[in-house]
């Protein structure tokens, strides 16, 4: 096939032999020298500052639209702006999700200088979430907004499945932080499924993942935000503590149930005041048991995480190269040929490389303890969370899961009344 194509082009080129060549013919005998490989320089401070200002403005506008204006239309327009600006214009980088790794690396590597924009993209959404809920997710995050535009026929994810999927972001966050802390890779960026779409180029598997997620997003609203995004873990925590979170109704809830199915993210909590209560003593017993279990979960998780040191360390290029060289020596394999060639040219000794790899693996072992311990605490707290009953007598957004998208506002008859009054006042 390839030969045919080449012959075809040869034929075409002979037909157009009088046309000027698009590419100059290489002149090997005239001392042709390869141009030097250049790396793009860092973004200028001015542009970085502009990025931060735009982010701050977008967050402020989203807050105003959600909390004050209560305008879904406004949120939708801001969503489109964010997809265009933060997504296609800025090519999805830098984003708050990836900034987790910059901050982690900065915490663990005193040689690494944290860029201003990375710090701002990490902190500002968290500060806004702490004050106003997840307004960043509502209309600013390019990864979230592009999925938001795909929501057409949302369906409810079965609660059992949702419980499992909701825990994935914690695992992803733990792994992403571990790889960043060890200086291995920014895996969250590398596996960002939407960046290839924003850049209109990228690795095929990642691009396909992004497309598949968008297609799933037609039915399962924002699958990445809800079941994958590591930054959503932090935003969820902040939003739970938020001081001024969006409410479904602008007034007192009349429990008309009209908003019950309005949230595509299943983030509306229904009143439970009339539910049959569990005997108090059994609830307390369970809670005590779970609290006792919590440290064991953390220790068990830490131990299991530390067992993964070898597997996780292989993501590190130094460890991979060391293992490849060692295997090559043992069995005359030819693994990582180019990397091996570069290594030989560097003058470094194998023993040095092995020691480096060993040190890195130890770091992964220690990091595995922290990651596993963190996950143990998360799972323990999740068990406790589903075992504690909080009494609600009205429809409320789940502060952690609510993306402040403003979709539920118009389901509330009180909201209609408010708009009517506003129009009357304006008239």
């Amino acid at each position: 096939m390839r030969k045919i194509l080449v012959m075809l082009f040869l034929l075409v080129s002979t037909l157009t032999c009088f046309a000027e060549n698009r590419f100059p013919k290489p002149q090997f005998e005239k001392g042709y020298t390869l141009p030097e490989t250049t790396a793009p320089g860092p973004r200028s401070i001015l542009l970085e500052s502009v990025d931060v200002v735009v982010l701050l403005a977008a967050l402020s506008l989203a807050t105003w639209l959600v909390l004050k204006k209560r305008s879904r239309r406004g949120v939708f327009l801001l969503t489109i702006f964010s997809v265009i600006y933060f997504g296609f214009w800025k090519k999805g980088c830098i984003c708050s999700i990836g900034a987790i790794q910059n901050v982690t690396l900065w915490l663990f590597d005193n040689q690494y200088v944290l860029p201003l924009s990375a710090a701002a993209y990490f902190i500002l959404p968290l500060v806004f979430a702490l004050l106003f809920g997840r307004v960043f997710c509502a209309a600013v995050c390019p990864l979230g907004t592009i999925q938001d535009l795909m929501i057409l026929f949302p369906v409810k994810v079965p609660s059992c499945l949702a419980q499992i999927l909701k825990l994935i972001p914690y695992v992803y966050l733990g792994l992403g932080a571990l790889f960043a802390a060890t200086g291995t890779a920014f895996v969250i960026c590398r596996l960002d499924p939407f960046v290839p779409i924003f850049r209109l180029s990228g690795k095929l598997p990642i691009l396909m993942t992004g497309i598949v997620l968008l297609l799933i997003g037609i039915f399962v609203a924002r699958p990445y935000c809800r079941f994958l995004c590591p930054f959503s873990v932090l935003l969820n925590w902040m939003s739970k503590l938020s001081k001024w979170h969006a409410t479904i109704t602008p007034d007192e809830c009349v429990k008309c149930r009209l908003c019950e199915k309005s949230c595509p993210f299943d983030a509306i909590q229904i009143p439970n005041i009339n539910q049959v209560a569990e005997p108090r003593i059994s609830g307390v017993h369970r809670l005590i048991m779970l609290l006792i279990l919590l440290p064991f979960l953390a220790i068990g998780g830490g131990w299991a995480g530390s067992r993964l040191d070898v597997v996780l360390a292989r993501e590190n290029p130094t460890v991979r190269l060391a293992e490849a060289i060692q295997q090559n020596d043992q069995s005359e394999l030819k693994l990582m040929v180019f990397e091996k060639e570069a290594f030989d040219g560097s003058g470094m000794k194998k023993e040095d490389l092995y020691v480096q790899a060993h040190t890195l693996r130890n770091k992964f072992r220690k990091g595995g303890w922290f990651m596993g311990g963190f996950l143990g605490v998360v799972f323990g707290c999740s068990l406790i969370g589903v075992s504690i009953k909080r009494t609600r007598d009205s429809y409320e957004p789940d502060r952690g899961a609510c993306l402040s998208c403003a979709r539920c506002f118009m389901s509330c008859p009180k909201e209609h009344q408010r708009i009517k009054k506003l129009n009357q006042v304006n008239c």
Partner: protein
């Protein structure tokens, strides 16, 4: 109202048609892109077997111009095909994006036109939350068990083969293989003959084979080798293995580990560490030492005799550690990679900081004696060799000084011995605690102490030589000084001893031999030269370098006997390094490797 319904229906049909058209369009574009992508992926211009075949033929007939042009044409076509494919992919991306946007807008409009109002009667008012919570607990617990099991199983199944070469103690099992070294910043060039294995903590035998710091493995100027040359001629090149110019000047002496010779040089603004190949003198790399974090870039005041690179670096076989007059200390690995750097602060030193570094059990020891200005006090500091972090430090009741500390293996264990104006002090090099001290006089203390014949021997300029038993505690001035001598007091260069006799070279040119046990003067001899460089001892031969580069080789015996006299051909104040038949010496401008070729 009827009109509204009609218009809604019409709008719905239009958007439906738009959605279908845009969907079909997007699918078509997508399919074309996939086929284009496959073609591009299978037609890399760098991987064309046809061209490779023709190139092979061309190698046999290099003058075949027709074949040459054919290769060029084929190459051009393949490149054109590849890049045209990329361009069409990019255009397709834009078309696909446009199609998807129109499809989305149409579908959204359709959805909003067909939006159903909520009807709460269709679903239960209150699902059973207790049951949901119970299920959620089981689901979470199940997932946790699955995760833990998965992690443990994977952890057991996947073990690294690296354990075979790097055991749990982190010390690699030695393999001796040739390595390729970068030459002057270029990544490929010289192959260094078998390199010494790098160990995290080299054993004593390994240390003795090398010359890892100022005055050698024990800091006393004595080499473990006896096969040193006694004559050479720089002018004719006889006995000179190589001679290379050192980029920046310095009073530091060379250190050697395996096939590498390390040296430092500095000017007012530049500080550099050099690594030479001992086989041929090739400058393998130069590591520029930029200001360490926190350094204010203040230029230290130094005298001509001290310069900006007086302290000799030290190596543990893994990294080389160097300190400069501005207080910057750095660790660089054997491939020029900076491991860490630390700013010690500018040392208030009358002539310029000169104390060389010592090393003991993973700690780099810095004698940082300073005149009391700006609140700065003299300190003995130990830095962790791996990280540069301070392991311990202890203040010293002394003024600025120029000797280097040594770590001596005494009958009471390892002792860090230092000397300065008014005190000779020994410390525990591990814990940083003071062990004993001897009060002495002297104002500008420059020679370093040695440990020989069970005694610490210290030459305090313009005062006396002290011989001290190192088994005391506290102030042992009155109890442990075995003898003092006013004869042979060296003022700049350090003494050297074979255990029985100790030799002192004075800057005025006098060489004095004293018996270690008694302090009795055996002989002295006035030589034609001034001595700043500390002498070395290899076997029974003393090597003494004068300031103008003359080298006296004298028998280390009870009678003065000159074995030879030769010259470097240029001034030198640096101490020689001795390794297996070779002497590495630094002159004012050149580095020499002397021995049999």
């Amino acid at each position: 109202m009827i009109v509204d319904e009609k218009s809604v229906k019409l709008s719905y049909r239009i958007t439906y048609a738009m959605a279908v058209v845009s969907c079909v369009f997007s699918l078509l574009v997508g399919m074309l892109m996939v086929s284009s992508l496959m073609a591009v992926r299978t037609s890399s211009p760098l991987d064309m077997p046809e061209i490779d075949q023709l190139r092979a033929v061309l190698k046999e007939n290099p003058t075949d111009e027709i074949l040459r042009n054919k290769i060029r044409d084929l190459d051009l076509v393949s490149r054109r095909f590849y890049f045209t494919g990329l361009t069409s992919l990019r255009t397709g991306s834009f078309l696909l994006l446009g199609g998807v946007i129109i499809m989305l807008v149409s579908l959204k409009t359709m959805a909003s036109l067909r939006r159903r109002l909520p009807n709460p009667r269709e679903y239960p008012a209150s699902p059973d939350m207790l049951q949901s919570a119970a299920t959620a607990r089981w689901v979470i617990a199940g997932m946790w068990v699955a995760l833990i099991t998965g992690a443990v199983v994977i952890g057991i199944m996947e073990r690294s083969g690296l354990e075979a070469v790097v055991p749990s103690n982190g010390v690699p099992i030695k393999t001796a293989q040739p390595v390729t070294m970068p030459v002057s910043g270029q990544m490929v060039s010289t192959t260094v003959s078998p390199a010494q294995p790098v160990t995290a903590s080299p054993d004593a035998a390994e240390v003795l084979k090398n010359w890892p710091g100022f005055r050698g493995p024990l800091g006393n100027g004595v080499s473990a080798f006896t096969n040193m040359p006694v004559s050479w001629d720089v002018k004719s090149g006889r006995g000179i293995i190589w001679k290379v110019k050192v980029p920046l000047s310095g009073m530091s002496s060379p250190v050697v580990w395996g096939n590498r010779v390390f040296l430092t040089g500095a000017s007012e603004t530049k500080r550099e560490v050099y690594c030479y190949d001992i086989a041929n003198g090739t400058l393998l790399w130069t590591a520029r030492v930029d200001a360490a974090p926190g350094n204010t870039n203040k230029v230290p005041q130094v005298s001509k005799d001290a310069g900006y690179a007086a302290p000799t670096p030290v190596t543990d076989g893994v990294n080389v550690y160097a300190i400069f007059a501005n207080g910057d200390i750095t660790a660089i690995d054997f491939c020029s990679k900076k491991i860490w750097d630390v700013d010690m602060g500018l040392c208030n030193n009358t002539y310029g900081y000169s104390a060389s570094l010592a090393i003991h059990k993973g700690k780099i020891i810095v004698q940082y004696d300073s005149v009391d200005a700006d609140g700065k006090v003299s300190e003995m500091i130990a830095l962790d060799a791996a990280t540069g972090k301070k392991a311990w430090s202890i203040t010293r009741p002394v003024a600025d000084s120029w000797p280097s500390p040594i770590v001596a293996q005494t009958g009471k264990g390892a002792q860090l011995i230092s000397m300065a104006n008014e005190w000779i002090i020994a410390y525990d090099p591990v814990a940083g605690k003071e062990l004993w001290k001897v009060k002495c006089a002297g104002s500008e203390v420059t020679p370093s102490p040695i440990y020989a014949g069970g005694l610490v021997i210290a030459s305090i300029a313009a005062e006396q030589v002290y011989a001290i038993r190192p088994d005391g505690q506290g102030d042992v001035t009155k109890s442990h000084v075995v003898w003092r001598s006013e004869d042979g007091v060296a003022d700049v260069s350090s003494p050297v001893s074979n255990g029985e006799l100790v030799f002192f070279a004075h800057s005025g040119g006098t060489l004095t031999c004293i018996e270690v046990a008694s302090g009795k003067i055996i002989w002295d001899k006035s030589l034609d030269g001034e001595f700043y460089a500390s002498p070395g001892l290899a076997g029974d031969r003393l090597y003494l370098v004068t300031r103008n580069g003359e080298v006296f080789i004298v028998r280390a015996g009870r009678k003065y006997e000159e074995i030879g006299k030769t010259s470097l051909g240029e001034p030198s104040d640096c101490s020689p390094a001795f390794v297996d038949g070779r002497i590495i010496m630094r002159g004012a401008t050149n580095l020499f490797c002397i021995g049999n070729k």
